[in-house]
């Protein structure tokens, strides 16, 4: 929801990012305030995922220009884990598998690390078990999943649910969800989208990075941005997404 008096969570100014020496993001501006839902759309190769990973601090994504303020402080000066502890969350397009590490142990470590950073109480394994099972209901997840290794052998849908489960546990101030809808069938998409909606609060914000409009049938964005050539070239409301769906990205590129 858009509130004029809402505080800015994220202020991106002229951001430039290189991957392997090639500039992918070429001067991106974006402001995200508390309570807002943004969708960043665009064709393949337009720089959406690069932008998402650069915000989270992936070491292979070199920031070559611009500034990013997160809750007023410089995000780019922070180590990736510090960004997460400060309340930034990246939902991965392709979550990596970590064989041998149980999902429950991983989730608890992540949860307790972020809790500790916020000066809140950590949970012991039993307390955490209750807590995480509660959150799993939100995403209609099978309990057996806690005992499996992190993302190992997970289907595409299970991986994406696991990402949103982590978002539910960590309660970020700002969640950037990179192609969360890809690889999901219609039922899974509905469940995941409902989960995201229920996690939306007036004091947090979500940025959906997506290629298709279909996720926006379930999550109503306050702003839709279209990326092309490493920049945001057009911004509008939900109607823009529908127009894109009808007319294709070439229409924006041409504009």
């Amino acid at each position: 929801m858009i509130r004029k008096d809402a505080r800015a969570l994220l202020e991106v100014n002229g951001l430039r990012t290189k991957v392997g020496g090639t500039e992918i993001v070429k001067g991106l501006d974006l402001v995200v305030r508390e309570g807002e839902v943004h969708a960043i759309m665009g064709p393949n190769g337009s720089g959406k995922s690069t932008f998402a990973k650069a915000l989270a601090g992936h070491p292979a994504y070199e920031v070559s220009g611009g500034t990013v303020a997160f809750e007023g402080g410089s995000l780019l000066a922070m180590a990736p884990e510090a960004r997460a502890r400060a309340g930034l969350f990246l939902g991965f397009q392709y979550p990596v598998e970590i064989p041998g590490v149980s999902n429950s142990a991983f989730l608890r470590l992540a949860y307790n690390t972020v809790q500790a950073a916020r000066g809140k109480d950590e949970l012991d394994p039993l307390e955490f078990d209750d807590y995480v099972r509660d959150k799993m209901k939100l995403l209609e997840m099978d309990e057996a999943f806690l005992d499996r290794s992190v993302n190992e052998g997970f289907s595409g849908g299970e991986k994406k649910r696991n990402e949103i489960l982590q978002m539910a546990l960590l309660e970020p101030r700002l969640a950037i969800l990179d192609e969360t809808d890809s690889g999901l069938d219609i039922d899974a998409l509905r469940v995941v989208a409902n989960g995201i909606n229920r996690l939306s609060r007036p004091d947090n914000a979500v940025v959906l990075v997506t290629h298709y409009q279909r996720m926006l049938n379930y999550i109503t964005p306050d702003y839709v941005h279209v990326m092309s050539g490493g920049r945001i070239v057009k911004t509008g409301g939900k109607a823009l997404a529908e127009e894109l769906e009808a007319r294709g990205y070439d229409w924006v590129k041409a504009a």
Binding site: P59, E81, A84, R85, F89, I98, P99, A105, L109, A110
Partner: protein
């Protein structure tokens, strides 16, 4: 991110210090005179001196093995002190133990008296070649268990020692076993009589203390029919520049229906980050499943030593005998490890299981070398081997050398192997959830080693987890 990894794996060794205790030390060098000196010093019977001299004469005819995948300068066996002991004092209680020694153990995080009492562990402490204190002996004696230093066993139970010593690892078995048989100074002896389940975990903490004193431990464990024992061995050593040779021999004998579980956590000084100094750990460990339905299980966590050359093995002689080997070997900096096991199936329906996890970091080299041999009369023998390697960084190496010799067509032998690398993407995934590289590496490593750690007694598993953390990062979650 890779530089973060490098910093993590390059933590200095924290157990480096020298304790000053007046030594009763033999002059450097090895000859029949040295052996007579050791034997006389320990007041040994004639047969044991003969055993030593025979081994020594055999050793003189042998060549140092060159087949392991390790490199080191030639050892000058005349430049080693073969006997060094703290001043002998009669000890009636723990209070009489040299406070300096106790402080040493405290620095190591092993306050033995408290540890022994709190954890219910009897600790036979080896401090530079001679046992200085043995606890809980009384309680063990009540059920007929003998747990003492091998010197004491030679004095008090010579018939048992004579019957079994060299029966699993013959004095001429290999170069270092022969050397050990000639000059061993002390070690542990454990005897579990028929039908007795040892009521507690037996534990020994080893520590090498005098500079350039080679340490030659000799351990002998015998479990009679239906007996059970779980034995723990943990080691650390102070920091020295000159290399120290450690050539131990461990022999296990399990009779009918007996079971021996032998667990090791090894953290000897590995040399500095440039590969200078460190312990040479050339050890012969072998268990003989002599009786039917007997079982011997080796579990080892090897994190120390400049060079590790060690193959805890099982000879499955009795029908239905079971041999197991669970190993985590971690190498860092310039450490070299060539370690694995031998499972020799002789009896019918014998089974063996090998789970080996190698972790290489820095510029280290980590090799698994294993032999599974199914002899002609070992009908229906089964073996399962799994050898996994993990690489941290790009300057280290991992090798697997599995040897399989099958001479009986009813055998089932399985071998699985994998190699993985802790990758930037995994560390970034952890980071994006607030977890730093240090904890992430620790969690990945502990996950990787879980199948082995599960085999360790509880408090040892905790220690092992901490140790891997120490070796790779500094602290562990």
């Amino acid at each position: 991110m890779s530089s973060v990894l490098e910093n993590l794996v390059n933590q200095p060794y924290r157990h480096g210090f020298v304790t000053d205790i007046e030594s009763d030390t033999a002059p450097k060098g090895l000859s029949e005179d040295t052996i007579r000196f050791i034997s006389a010093k320990k007041g040994e019977p004639e047969w044991l001196l003969e055993f030593r001299l025979k081994a020594y004469r055999h050793w003189l005819t042998m060549q140092e093995p060159v087949w392991p995948n390790v490199k080191y300068p030639r050892i000058d066996f005349q430049d080693i002190i073969y006997y060094s002991a703290p001043r002998p004092k009669p000890l009636k209680s723990m209070d009489e133990v040299d406070p300096e020694l106790l402080r040493t153990f405290e620095k190591l995080g092993v306050p033995m008296n408290e540890r022994a009492k709190l954890a219910g562990v009897a600790v036979d402490v080896i401090f530079d070649s001679v046992s200085v204190a043995t606890t809980y002996k009384q309680r063990l004696a009540e059920v007929g268990i003998i747990f003492c230093s091998i010197s004491e066993a030679v004095r008090e139970h010579p018939e048992l020692v004579r019957q079994y010593i060299g029966s699993v690892v013959p004095p001429g078995d290999n170069y270092y076993a022969a050397l050990n048989s000639a000059v061993f100074t002390d070690g542990s002896f454990c005897y579990i009589p028929k039908g007795v389940r040892c009521p507690m975990e037996l534990s020994t903490y080893f520590r090498i203390n005098t500079e350039s004193s080679g340490q030659f431990e000799r351990t002998l464990i015998v479990a009679e029919d239906g007996a059970y024992v779980s034995y723990l061995e943990g080691c650390t050593a102070p920091k020295f520049d000159s290399n120290q040779l450690h050539a131990a021999v461990v022999e296990l004998v399990a009779l009918d229906d007996a079971e021996i579980k032998y667990s090791t956590v090894q953290n000897w000084y590995a040399g500095d980050e440039n590969g200078k100094g460190g312990i040479y750990n050339f050890v012969t460990k072998r268990g003989l499943c002599k009786g039917v339905n007997s079982k011997i299980s080796w579990t080892q966590v090897e994190t120390g030593s400049a060079i590790t050359w060690k193959y805890p093995s099982c000879v499955l002689l009795g029908d239905n005998a079971i041999g197991e080997f669970y190993s985590v070997a971690l190498t860092n900096h310039h450490q070299q490890a060539d370690t694995g096991t031998k499972m020799v199936h002789i009896g019918k329906n014998t089974r063996s299981r090998i789970i080996s996890k190698g972790i290489s970091a820095g510029q280290s080299n980590n090799s698994y070398r294993g032999l599974v041999r199914i002899s002609p009369r070992a009908d229906n023998a089964r073996n399962y081997s799994q050898c996994d390697s993990m690489l941290i960084g790009s300057k280290c190496g991992a090798n697997t050398f599995p040897y399989i010799q099958v001479q009986n067509s009813s055998a089932q032998v399985e071998h699985e192997a994998s190699t993985s690398k802790i990758g930037e993407e995994q560390l970034f995934y952890f980071a994006s959830r607030g977890v730093g590289a240090e904890e992430a590496v620790s969690m990945i490593i502990n996950g990787f080693c879980r199948d082995v750690f599960q085999q360790l007694p509880m408090e040892f598993a905790v220690e092992a987890t901490k140790l891997l953390g120490l070796k790779l990062e500094g602290s562990v979650g």
